[in-house]
Symmetry: C2
Subunit: 234 residues, 2 copies
């Protein structure tokens, strides 16, 4: 019992803490692998895994022969407090997020061009998501009826479908494609934006590890509220 954490996670947590509290400040060079391994009393590989983790979190950078450095934060400030990236949209499940069901129907899988395998019937769920009373996105989701609990209801259709899915399936990966589009009728009214205003159209397919298509999602995001942020290395 007690906590179920790995050694390298604990090391990573401590390094992250040092970065946040300024023990290791921006642009500063960290002690070497060897020194850290010594200090923490773990093997060098464990240090390297912890550092790799912080690199994937975009807090550190390293370069052969030079050392490991604390990454500088982006200086770009979009005036709005918009969401950071589509990957993080799911994290804003706070109390100010509302979901309104626009439509819920069943269709046969042979009516769509997507390969849902054995599944015969799909739910097609259209819903509007709001944040602080402001319409943010319109989502349209396709999901096999059998992948949701038999008790699935309209009420549940306003909550996280990912969580429902995960009760019976292990989610492996999602392919996403994002386009810049003009928001036209009838979407502009639902999103409460001027006709033709620019927005993001995101299409994604979610698969289980062994490649079964679990969910298809086609959504529109207000361009004035969302930004995509990412960091590229090397």
């Amino acid at each position: 019992m007690t906590k179920r954490v790995t050694l390298f996670t604990e090391v990573a947590d401590e390094l992250r803490r040092r970065i946040q509290t300024g023990v290791y400040s921006e642009q500063m060079k960290l002690p070497s692998d060897y020194e850290l391994a010594d200090e923490f009393g773990v093997s060098r590989l464990t240090i390297r895994k912890a550092v790799d983790q912080l690199i994937s979190e975009q807090r550190l950078v390293k370069h052969r022969g030079k050392g490991t450095y604390v990454m500088r934060a982006p200086k770009l400030y979009s005036g709005h407090y918009g969401l950071t990236s589509f990957t993080e949209v799911g994290e804003h499940l706070g109390k100010d997020v509302q979901t309104k069901l626009l439509s819920l129907k069943k269709i046969k899988t042979d009516q769509v061009a997507l390969d849902f395998g054995e599944a015969r019937e799909l739910f097609v769920i259209q819903r509007l998501r709001q944040y602080n009373q402001t319409a943010m996105t319109i989502e349209e989701l396709w999901i096999p009826v059998d992948y949701l609990p038999p008790t699935f209801s309209e009420e549940q259709a306003t909550h996280s479908l990912f969580q429902l899915l995960e009760q019976s399936h292990v989610i492996g990966y999602s392919h996403q494609e994002i386009a810049a589009v003009n928001i036209e009728a009838p979407y502009h009214e639902l999103l409460n934006v001027p006709l033709h205003q620019a927005g993001f159209k995101m299409m994604s397919e979610t698969y289980s590890v062994d490649g079964a298509l679990l969910l298809y999602d086609c959504s529109y995001y207000r361009g004035d509220e969302y930004r995509i942020k990412q960091t590229l290395q090397r």
Copy 2:
């Protein structure tokens, strides 16, 4: 001499070849770490690094206790043969790519809000990039005069500034922020698109490993020619 490759890279190359030739087909389960280590005559850690590499390339997925699987390719087909993502824009340096210099001037660093450190003067380069005679993007770049060779000319301003930069600096990382915007005057004329058509606006800051700001980039991409594609795992 001869090739300068690592063991795990060679293993990764062979695994990639097997995936491409169908020895390991889509959705198929690979042999276990142990079996592969045995077959290749290397340690298990080396196999794991090779597999990690292919996972980061989005060719494999794995799950504890279950196994490693070949990832399914995305089924989304944007009708156009547009560029895959901003990360790959630089790879299309084929013969059909043209760059036209729109303007080139020098300014003092104290005229901008960006922290270029010691640098006093910046080049501001505005250029238009075309692919197959079609205008694709408008770029505006800020870069310290000292970071480019003293021989820097207008002719060179139409080629890869990254390559020029790399002659004297090691590039560490770039922060990017992407917005969906309406293309307005005068950009719509340069890009040859209707007024108000949706497009991407991308702002990026490129840093060296030790956190010196090397380059700032603000670009507009035609929404009808570009898509952002990405794959999320777990």
